[in-house]
């Protein structure tokens, strides 16, 4: 991203190609910019986000859940949380949203090249990490992937299509857990931190990627530290209220940092330098 870039705050229209209901709360929107040329030229990186507009609803930051290794469309997976996201859930294929971006510091895929990855996600937190996982699997020379995914209940498990592929992939180990079981569930019950003890990963050759609710992130970061992961090799994404996406409005401040430009991806080492009591 060039520092000389300028921002006019004008979203570009994008057409919904397809909608995938991941669970009762999350839908994945497959989108293409209405301007075909712009759509072809569009690039982004895992961990970055778009500002999504809906008429009268303003904007919300949403991470890419798709990988740039599969160009042509982008995917945004949206959990129904309030006004804009609920309105988005009411849309149909063929409808339009406004998009501006991409924004934010990404996961640096080059740094992950060849390393084993330990992915720990909760709920919608799998969305940005799905971008990394599928990006890695699309790139020759990737290491082993261990994916731990926690959901509230079994019917909340999102991205089932991907999970099915990952569970059958020779380089991937994928474990699911739920906070509370439902009839028919014979998998583990409990927090995702409980799965950490059961997996075989070598902290020296692995990078951990963590995304989920703030309390989960805090617990997982501590547990990973105890397992021997270096702070630089624990990466997470931070959620903050955002308005501009370019580091001027200050809504996303996290101590001296602005999450929209200094993040949303941070290493544990970076976070430790900040006052984490306000996480």
């Amino acid at each position: 991203m060039s520092l000389m870039r300028s921002e006019d705050y004008l979203p570009r229209p994008a057409v919904i190609q397809k909608i995938i209901a991941e669970n009762s709360q999350i839908k994945t929107f497959v989108l293409a910019l209405a301007d075909q040329q712009a759509n072809q030229a569009f690039t982004y990186r895992p961990g970055q986000f778009m500002m999504v507009s809906l008429p009268h609803r303003g904007e919300a930051p949403i991470s890419f859940s798709s990988t740039p290794t599969r160009p042509g469309t982008i995917e945004l997976s949206v959990r129904r949380a309030g006004s804009l996201t609920a309105a988005m859930h009411a849309l149909q294929a063929g409808d339009q949203v406004g998009l501006r971006g991409p924004y934010g510091r990404p996961f640096v895929m080059e740094d992950l090249q060849g390393r084993d990855l330990l992915v720990v996600a909760g709920g919608i937190g799998l969305a940005p990490l799905r971008s990394v996982i599928n990006g890695c699997l699309d790139t020759p020379g990737h290491g082993k992937l261990t994916i731990l995914y926690g959901s509230r209940v079994p019917s909340d498990i999102a991205f089932r299509g991907d999970i099915d592929i990952w569970q059958h992939h020779p380089a991937v180990t994928c474990h699911l857990t739920v906070d509370a079981p439902e009839p028919g569930w014979d998998g583990p019950v409990g927090l995702v931190t409980g799965l950490l003890g059961q997996v075989k990963v070598d902290p020296a050759s692995s990078t951990a990627l963590v995304c989920g609710p703030p309390v989960m992130i805090a617990a997982v970061l501590t547990a990973l530290g105890k397992m021997g992961f270096a702070d630089e090799e624990i990466l997470t994404t931070m959620e903050r209220h955002m308005k501009c996406g370019i580091g001027v409005c200050r809504h996303c401040h996290l101590d001296s940092k602005l999450v929209c430009v200094d993040g949303p991806v941070f290493s544990r080492a970076q976070l430790k330098k900040l006052q984490m009591d306000r996480l």
């Binding site: 300028s6 705050y9 008429p55 009268h56 303003g58 904007e59 919300a60 200050r250 401040h253």
Partner: protein
Amino acid sequence: MRDDAMDQAFILAKDHLKSFLRKVKKGHRLVAPVTNQHNDTLFCTINHLDRVPINLTEQAQNGIKSFLFPQQETLATYAVSADGYRFNRTDVRPEPTVYFGVRPCDLMAVLYMDVVFMGGVKDQHYLEKRQDSVLIGLNCNAPFANCFCSATKSGPFLETGFDLMFTDLGDRFLVEVGRPKGREMLQAWQQFFTPAEAEDTRAQYQLSLEAMAGFRLDVYADQAIQRLAAGLVPESVWEQLSLRCQDCAGCAYICPTCTCFTIVDRPAGPDCGERLRSWDACTFAGFTRLAGGHNPVAHKIHAIQTRFLHKLKYDVDKHGRPSCVGCGRCVGICFGGTDIVRFIKMAGED
């Protein structure tokens, strides 16, 4: 006038000021401080130089922030039609503007806004207003009651950052040339200016010494900055301040360097509307509230911390200087006494 002669200072006789400004007005909108019938001194657009007297003796209540970064501005209009969901820019290009009589603190504040809005990704709406503006400053021979710019190193006299800088020498102004736009302006209207003599620059130096001695408040900003950096400011300071903050955001709105904003949609009909940006304040409850209700800055005490840490710690780390320019406006406006001068005093105490 030769180019290399431009480094020196010039003299504009006070009798010629109006004629000079009249010429300036031909190609620019002129913004300068004016005292209105309510006795408020405010920067405003001057349409008739003969009807409104420019006031160069009071401190303007507003500064020039709102001209470059309006309290509310339309970023775009939107419409949903058979064409889809489209955003358009409607506003006309801003007029080239000369800001005249800008005090050093307010001038430094504009330079700070330049860093915020143009230092990284360039904010197009700010950039368009800023790129065609000329800053003509006025050094302060006599600081006002709440001024403390000497403590924040942003006045009362400035040597750089301006396009032109005026110093009042009684019957004449000493005019210094700074950035290229000032040089162009002087060259275009050189008939009004004569080279300054050594005695003029001596007189200016003398005035600057008197100004430095004229501050009425003792504000030890460096001490507070150092104690913040070292983590020596006790929690009780924040607690006491937060008890009296009424969440009115007066300090943020009046402050020439507070630039937080929000963006909202305002429907104009079922299928169209405007996207507006308006001033916001980090001290407001809800500034950082997330969907789901989780708020990382939930307590008043944190909101107060955010404001002062931003000005006196984060910006010192990032830009090498505080983003409080010592204009003293928040001192006058805060009825709870939760202003930055109070904070600096409390933070500096053992």
